[in-house]
Symmetry: C3
Subunit: 252 residues, 3 copies
Amino acid sequence: MFEAKIDATALRECLETVTAIVDEGKLRITDEGLKLRAVDPANVSMISFVLQSDAFDEFHFSCESEEGDNETEIGMDFVKLLGILGIGGKEDIELKLDEHAQKVYIRMGSLAYTHSLLDPASLRKEPKVPELEFPAQVIIETEEFRRAIRAAEKIGDNIVLGVDGEEFFMEAEGEMDKLRLGLTKEQLIHLTPKTVSSLYSLEYISAMSKGMSHAENITLNLGEKYPMQLDFELAEGKAKISYLLAPRIESE
Amino acid sequence: MFEAKIDATALRECLETVTAIVDEGKLRITDEGLKLRAVDPANVSMISFVLQSDAFDEFHFSCESEEGDNETEIGMDFVKLLGILGIGGKEDIELKLDEHAQKVYIRMGSLAYTHSLLDPASLRKEPKVPELEFPAQVIIETEEFRRAIRAAEKIGDNIVLGVDGEEFFMEAEGEMDKLRLGLTKEQLIHLTPKTVSSLYSLEYISAMSKGMSHAENITLNLGEKYPMQLDFELAEGKAKISYLLAPRIESE
Amino acid sequence: MFEAKIDATALRECLETVTAIVDEGKLRITDEGLKLRAVDPANVSMISFVLQSDAFDEFHFSCESEEGDNETEIGMDFVKLLGILGIGGKEDIELKLDEHAQKVYIRMGSLAYTHSLLDPASLRKEPKVPELEFPAQVIIETEEFRRAIRAAEKIGDNIVLGVDGEEFFMEAEGEMDKLRLGLTKEQLIHLTPKTVSSLYSLEYISAMSKGMSHAENITLNLGEKYPMQLDFELAEGKAKISYLLAPRIESE
């Protein structure tokens, strides 16, 4: 049994972080809230998503599984759901799961939306989160990061993110030009001094950049020719999102 | 002889209701105002439109017809005219018909636009309005109706509109999901309790939904597997528009 | 040596006037400021552009040329540069030329953009400005002019601009309709009474119309079947732009 009630904007913003990586996936419902972990179709990026039960105005869950698991897994089409939520309205959204019918009922004011669950067997397995250690960490205002990404999109397909001593930098290079964002420790919310950098596909970072647009700050975890982990919070800190992105092999 | 002056916004909003159904058509000018009745090219929907002479700041009409008719019929390209009016400006619009030259002169501030009339013989005949009796009537805020239509567009191609006892409902069904707007008598401006419903093409209702966007309320006249008549007013009640839409035959 | 600092909005607006005519070109740097003269690829329109050194917050230039010229010529991709500046931000922009490396360094807050100069030999020669005498001059509010252009775009491909006695007019004719803007001397900022008119390609005037969108007034210099010169200022009068447009030969 799962029944819950949540602010429409909070749910919409959370779904946007998910659809930046995958169109559909498995959502796990537990006592603690909603959880999701998924990789994009090309296996380049991953999202780990938790929307805590205390982000909801109401949250009732009890597991009916015979196996004694303390969670229920449902397959959802996030893009479709976001499309419906996106028509607007600021009223609370009520969610209700009917496991037997394999449906989720969503109520937005006078609109009732019934979403048939996807067969979890038809969906990709939840990925394992690799064990990673990041030597450098940077906390930056989201808008500053997003602006540099928008500019980099005009230049090329890849971007280098790194820390050079006490400076965080982003660098994109085209045939005729080059763009560099450099921010010293003082201009950042936090920086671990280090010397590391990695090359990433701008296509994936651009998608993530849209997904994070409602977060105030983001935390970048970086290494040398290493994956990047990008963390942020929504719903007044009660939604926690981590994007993980594999580095590109530099051609030179 | 026809000469008139009208607020630009009022004329623009009226033209938008017409172009939701037809691109061009015959406009009748009478003492009482401007009138139009037209069906869309596929014969699925019809508009009956009256813009009363008292909606104009000035309205002068005298018929020069030898047949003693008390009206003049002109063929117009409404899409083209709306395109020109749509470039904006809030000043009054002056209209002047030159029947001999078969032109309409339109003045918007310092811009003068001359529109050659279409040959009425090249245009479809004005349709007869079928005699219909509607068992159920619902009055609803336009924005509530339009929001449900926008959501339904995400689901499928058809929509059911009906009254179920004291509830008005709209229902769209896709392969994987279903959307339902349900409003009780208390949530509506008016409702005739009844049990009727019909299926309509969403394509046509979407077009009408754009056409009615400036109206505050709309009146839905409904029946069982029956056409729907959708009435609303613009120009402070001095423009009266009725859309008529044929039902679809349900496939089940 | 060239180093300068300028308000981001002023530079962006100036670049927009240039990209209305050409994508890339030769910019001359002198003591007096930045200068450019270029024709579009089809040789129909020309821009003469001066951004005075006093429009800059800082402007340092000294010529290193051995030939003793008092100017430096650089080849730039204006569209690319405007794309980068267009991502926004209102901070000052710092420009620095490295002639040996053939690069321009542009700093916008924490973003540093390096633009490789184009080989001037690969660019078209700077055109000569033809000697022209214009019998009629009209000064008009930019927005009034642009609105007439937007309306004319709905009608046809060409537009007549002229002065008829004490009236300035713009006229576009389609197959079925005709649009005319007529403004008397009293409705204009200035008019030289005359009787002249010429036909121009709307495509070029539409591009210019975008380029001039931030100017308050424009000055039209007109003649009989003659080129048109369109002058305006930006950056508080410290940027001076002239568009020159060849007339079309009237088909009748």
